[in-house]
Symmetry: C3
Subunit: 272 residues, 3 copies
Amino acid sequence: MEIYKLLKQVRAQKPLVHHITNWVTIYDCANIVKVFGASPVMAHAKEEVADMVNIASALVLNIGTLTSAVIESMIIAGKAANNKGIPVILDVCGAGATKYRDEKSFEILDKIRVSIIKGNSSEIARIAGKNIQTKGVDATEDANSSTDLVKTAKLLADARDLTVVITGKEDIIVDNKNCFYVKNGCDMMANVVGTGCMATSVIGTFAAVSKDLSIAAASGLCCYEIAAELAASQSKAPASFKQDLLDCIFHLNEDNITKMQKVSSERVLFYN
Amino acid sequence: MEIYKLLKQVRAQKPLVHHITNWVTIYDCANIVKVFGASPVMAHAKEEVADMVNIASALVLNIGTLTSAVIESMIIAGKAANNKGIPVILDVCGAGATKYRDEKSFEILDKIRVSIIKGNSSEIARIAGKNIQTKGVDATEDANSSTDLVKTAKLLADARDLTVVITGKEDIIVDNKNCFYVKNGCDMMANVVGTGCMATSVIGTFAAVSKDLSIAAASGLCCYEIAAELAASQSKAPASFKQDLLDCIFHLNEDNITKMQKVSSERVLFYN
Amino acid sequence: MEIYKLLKQVRAQKPLVHHITNWVTIYDCANIVKVFGASPVMAHAKEEVADMVNIASALVLNIGTLTSAVIESMIIAGKAANNKGIPVILDVCGAGATKYRDEKSFEILDKIRVSIIKGNSSEIARIAGKNIQTKGVDATEDANSSTDLVKTAKLLADARDLTVVITGKEDIIVDNKNCFYVKNGCDMMANVVGTGCMATSVIGTFAAVSKDLSIAAASGLCCYEIAAELAASQSKAPASFKQDLLDCIFHLNEDNITKMQKVSSERVLFYN
């Protein structure tokens, strides 16, 4: 898996990554795409989202501060993305916190073809049908048993025919053949709002330049989390860490990535 | 008053603090709650706010970029919070700048039981019935006579049966028995957008772990402003100051707080 | 042209700059106004925008995440600003990316008197009637031939009777008599989301204290970009650069500005 090669493609191709996202981390989602060398655009009016998709290379949807109007635009944009054949990445931010988030997540999954679904352990467990509560947008402890998570991800990947990404101490990426593990990252990420949303934007950025979506997701997360490790080695508090994380992404190079990457994969057996 | 004890409770209990807030400082409001060790969630769709309140420990409302739809959601959420018995903290951001802000502030105060109302001197004066103009979201000079402010706060506290917080060079917290003064903080705070909104989120975070709301408000503000003093001692311009403020909050300890806290209180006489 | 004199006026008068802007960079737009020493306010409810304009000294409109409701409020606010006689600054963010953005940009220009229109080379070319595509909110290469840009700006300035600002490596400011060039700035600005939107807020801040709008725009951009040069000399990655940019603005002085300013002007001939 050539992680650095994909990063180079992002920087060379500068793909346009269209987002319909939440109002909390919308700046960070745009900014991380830019810092990776690509071109973000955020647009949510139903009158224009299909046109914006038509010049974009990936569509990122994030339900963090969903409303019915925003969901309507997501579905219009998603259909345009499906027609154009670009990947759709869905962050089910806060699924499992309210009935409304669950219902709208399912509505999106039913009405458009999502390519990659991403969430923390609670969010993905809920979308996979488990009776799990999410604490707002934070994972709850009872959702965090690693073996179960792979099984849950696999069930969802099969049921919906998509790539499932569960982020956490160890990220799990499952499609219909393989499971990738990304063991990079650091604890400080959990002390900053937006690290989860930014992860999704990074996945979208890498998916914009690669046909293999699971490898794109694993590569993007690996780069992002290597930068987080580099940042954590120089800053010991959340705000300076966040700044250093962005700066380290900008300066990521082949040497960092080759030496620090902790990505592994395995064939996924079918569960029943 | 055991300020550090409350900070420890925030860090140990990690309460979920639900916000319906403005689009300018929404990230900062979430992030400061996180940096204090608690768990923020921002959700404003009328279909889900009551469900989100049901898993939260405090509700923060901030009218900074109000619309009629957002106010409707605030009232639904506020009623759910009243039913559940969790504190409702209202930042009357920009009251006194437009008639609409005044009217909507009164509508919220009439329709739900607000536990703590917070504003700068102009905003609170207007809500207390004075003919004061607010300069957008900034206090005007003529609202800043300290003796009058305590009187104004006391009148509002009595009339509405709530805790009133006026932030400024010296913060004033008044309930039906006491007046607390927090004299921590520094001038640089006024050079950064969002320090007022973050103060409200901090109050909400501390109110989530304490039954005495005035003490919660005073303790939260004291911690926040001690961190600001620490930050100001190392950074001399707004953006680096803001980063240091967040980093200093993360590392606040008993020693800082004990040595630096400038909180005093007095019984409040009735005015007429 | 006394650039520093205008900066001093901003700091002394602290004008209120009302924005109706996008959800991506709304914080940055507010914060840069504050760091320059003025007072930002963001308000978009149609019920209050006219009242807010009535206490403001300039109105900044930015269509970055436009919706029909936001455009409606922009037009109400713009008419109030026209009545009051304060400058209206329009950032046609993303014009040329979708038909909707073009149409709404023209609707604003037709319904209210815009004082200054600002965009990158693609955006302004589209508004001037060229068949140019914008890559989301980023300029496309084919829009970047400097001679043509002045001609394009001049045509638009004449057709709409306003000041046209095209930002880029070299900023071009054209009104019915003169063309100003601002050659300050640095490449790192392009690696941070929001530098374009902040430029518009800076223009609005300077336009709030000066009757000559082209000189206000050139002076504001010059100050902003001198701070960017100072920041780039000390930080080599986007996030630390952004922080340093804000800090350097706060400490800008007569000496910096006099030594570093690269503003020139020429009479503009009529093209046909």
